[in-house]
Amino acid sequence: MKNSGYFRELYVGGKSLIIGLGVTLKAFVQPIVTVQYPREKLEITPNYRGHIELVRDPETGECTCIVCGMCARACPSGCITVSGEKKEGEKKKSLTEFRLDFTKCSLCGSCVETCPKGAIDYSQDYNIAGFTREEFHYDLIKRLEEKG
């Protein structure tokens, strides 16, 4: 009784070890599944939530923000600062300052959802890096102008 368990254990154990070796051998000859990142990049889905950017209206080419401040109020972390001024002869306020403090942002998406005009949208920047905290205090109007 005791002896049969001894030999059976050896046999079952040895077989499982050989099967395991077969699995790794099979994986050895299969192609690799990783990508060498800085040299080869993968395509990122357009639905990726990066930091927000101001969006130009496709017809007029202007930024559609009406400075209502809903995004700043909806943000749980308080990263958005919006201010505007009423210019002479115009009904709505125009935007003078739109700052995003990305070091506090948790990418929840509340700002994009509550904007009544669709003036902000996500970007696809995923590999941003910097040396100081101030590099992540984005001035979104300046970024919009630099983008062209």
Binding site: L10, L17, L21, T24, A27, T34
Partner: protein, 325 residues
Amino acid sequence: METTVLYELLRMLLAVVLVVSFVFLNAMIMGYLERKISAHIQRRPGLMEVGPHGILQLLIDGLKLIGKQLVVPKDADRTLFRAAPLLSFAPVVLPLIVIPFSPKLQVRDFDIGLIFILAISSLNVLAILMAGWGSNNKYSLFGAMRSVAQNISYEIPMLLSLLAVILMTNTFSMQGIVQAQGKIWFFLVQPVAFLIYIVASFAETNRAPFDLPEAESELTAGYHTEYSGMGFSLFMLAEYANMFVVCSIATVLFLGGWHGIPLPFGAYSGAIWFFIKAYGLMLFMIWVRWTYPRTRFDQLMNFCWKYMIPFALVNLLVTAVLVKL
């Protein structure tokens, strides 16, 4: 007379240079192979940056390690701490003197070659113990304690399985053992001894699945936790050279040494077959390392004393009876 003495001196000098540089070369090749093979088993490319497909990586790693600062921990035993890597390096260089790479390529052929190798390899464990104790670190001491028990336990099945082969060849000299395999290689005649020897060699070199003293996830790197720079690299060199020694003993005793399909260059070409077989066994060791998890310490001891030693003894008995007949 003088020319003979000069010739012998030159020969010894050449042998020393070749053997030590072989140890370094072996570590570079084995390090590269280990990382590349493990990478492909895990379906990733592995080393690709330095040189085409990362060939020069190990060279640059060696240069980096030479340049690192050697840190001795506070309250560590300085003598033991500094001496341990040196002592781990010495016992792996000496056995390379007796290994027959081909009928003509051997530094010295002792009559008791095999006993010499086994005796010197037993000194490995002393270096590990010194490193573990001298580091003044509880984790290192754990690793060292486990290694001591593991190494001295697994020497017994190793010796018993080798003894079975010696009973058949009647000589301890390494060259003699190879020449006795002219007709048939011994792993076909003694499969059980071959298997026991391979498993025991995993435990002797602290390779997975028996690598408890070493790179643990329980004990943050075991006995070489506190070493940096050249000390660490000496341990690594010693480990890879130990792997080579153990695999070449298996090649000599079980796989027919330098026998193989005859190639040109006569007496020197056997070395090619020898290296193919020895490196084949080392590739098998790498393959096993990246497949299995680690055994627990008492299960390792269990396996040695309850499974390997009975089989080795029975094998020895059967061999003795058959040789007598």
